[in-house]
Amino acid sequence: MNETLKVVGLVKEYGSFRAVDNITFAIKPGEIVGLLGPNGAGKTTTINMILGILEPTCGSVEILGKNLKEHRTEIAKQMNFAAVYAQMPGNLTVCQNLYVFGRLYEVRNLKEKIKFLLRDFDLDTFAKTKAGLLSSGELTRLNLAKALINEPSLLLLDEPTASLDPSIANFIRERIKNWVAETQTTVLWTSHNMYEIEAVCDRVLFLSHGKILLSGNPRTLPAEHGKKDLEELFISAAREPLSFL
């Protein structure tokens, strides 16, 4: 088993509409892969299928060598996610949220783990603050603390820095990069910030209309397609996907 995540022939259909159209890719341990694409390209649908909260029409997802459909609970213990649209319950405090999710992931030495995460994500002063009262930057840090509570082997991040100011976004990026360097965690990262993708990802997959159009190193891929930078490549692939097929 070389890959942490292996997706083969994944398809999701809603009636006659194909949201994800036969995609295949794999990610190795310690690799950060960016999942790019315009709105509605199928990024979140793909992430939801990998999380096991959306059943694929066909295809398979293997995580750490095990089939997701057959070993969902076992696999879910070893992965986690953070998404801008999946906030922690606002009526629980920061500490209570981490406690509840620590229990869900059966984390050992949970109280020590929570103390460490609060310190690590600079959330100490908000430990007893209700999540609903946090600013978007603090809330993102809480989401990430929750995402790392079980020390996952696979981390799915759906636009983790959306709506954050550059300083907090940078803090988040650095924190995740350091985490990956220390733990060899595999990360699948979606973002619309091309600067971020270039700075963080080892590889990108470009999705359009549910298909993978392009893949490669975000720093060399634009030149390979005669574009100045990743943003220009993104715009061109989003507007004229057929020219990349």
Binding site: Y14, A86, N91, Q96, F101, R103, K146
Partner: protein
């Protein structure tokens, strides 16, 4: 190897979340217990007044107040499951929950454990008020109290799971269905009057409601205070019906969950 066993830690997580919610805002206790307190006090005075009219020939307090308390317990169990489920909808927590290792059986067990805690607290509170204010003693029912509570508990669970499944399938706006269900069922359950008071065509509904067997038995026990085989048969029917409903509603909930997994509803549940 597949994960076949339920995790106590994950069931506890679902339960402790509700405890945290109550701790952070004790006014939730008011909504949980206010109505049952009002019911006991109101019916306590009504039965006291009826008792004064009927002299010593009939104990209204024992029969009506007893029924109110037992029905209040059933309602608490149903509302306990439903409100715990609704909390996850209101706080948009489904993605986080179902993307975690939490299994659907564990989630349901967490809802049930929470509702047991709410039901037992509600029952004790009602008994305390009824005892102190109206001299009511539920133990006059004797050992039959245990099967009564068991049947009503299982039936309350089945109602709660059924309503939660409906909301899960139809969206958050369907929440209104859950609140009046106990009141509607009380018409056919013989909580306030014997089933024989209903017109024949309505008695058909009573026959398929487990609670009606409990309340008919309770009246029989308090009227004659005699053990009879008819009561045992009634309780067996009530128990069998409750268990059957629990099983059916459980599978209904699982079916709705699978439907939502297939149609992507979990990820965008709050949109309706």
């Amino acid at each position: 190897m597949k994960d076949q066993y339920m995790s106590i830690s994950r069931i506890y997580a679902v339960f402790i979340r509700q405890v945290f919610l109550i701790k952070s805002n004790p006014t939730r206790l008011v909504s949980m217990f206010l109505w049952i307190i009002i019911d006991v006090v109101l019916w306590g005075f009504i039965t006291k007044y009826l008792g004064s009219l009927g002299r010593d020939t009939f104990s209204f307090v024992n029969i009506i107040l007893g029924a109110i308390i037992l029905w209040g317990f059933t309602t608490r169990i149903e509302h306990g499951i439903m409100t715990t489920f609704l909390e996850d909808i209101w706080s948009r927590n489904f993605i986080n929950y179902f993307a975690s290792p939490l299994k659907i059986d564990e989630y349901l067990s967490g809802l049930v454990v929470t509702s047991i805690a709410m039901g037992v607290c509600g029952l004790l509170l009602m008994l305390l008020i009824a005892g102190l204010c109206f001299g009511y003693n539920i133990f006059r029912i004797g050992l039959f109290l245990l099967p009564f509570l068991l049947i009503l508990f299982i039936f309350g669970m089945a109602m709660g799971i059924f309503v939660s499944a409906l909301i899960f399938r139809l969206g958050p706006a369907a929440e209104w269905i859950g609140w009046p269900i106990p009141m509607v069922l009380s018409v056919f359950s013989g909580v306030f009057y014997p089933v024989s008071n209903l017109p024949n065509f309505l008695r058909i509904f009573s026959r398929v409601i487990p609670a009606s067997y409990v309340f008919e038995s309770m009246r029989a026990i308090l009227a004659s205070e005699l053990f009879s085989i008819r009561i045992v048969v009634y309780l067996c029917i009530g128990l069998a019906l409750s268990c059957a409903y629990l099983l059916v509603t459980y599978f209904f909930f699982i079916r709705v969950y699978r439907y939502n997994l297939k149609h992507g509803t979990i990820a965008r549940f709050n949109i309706e």
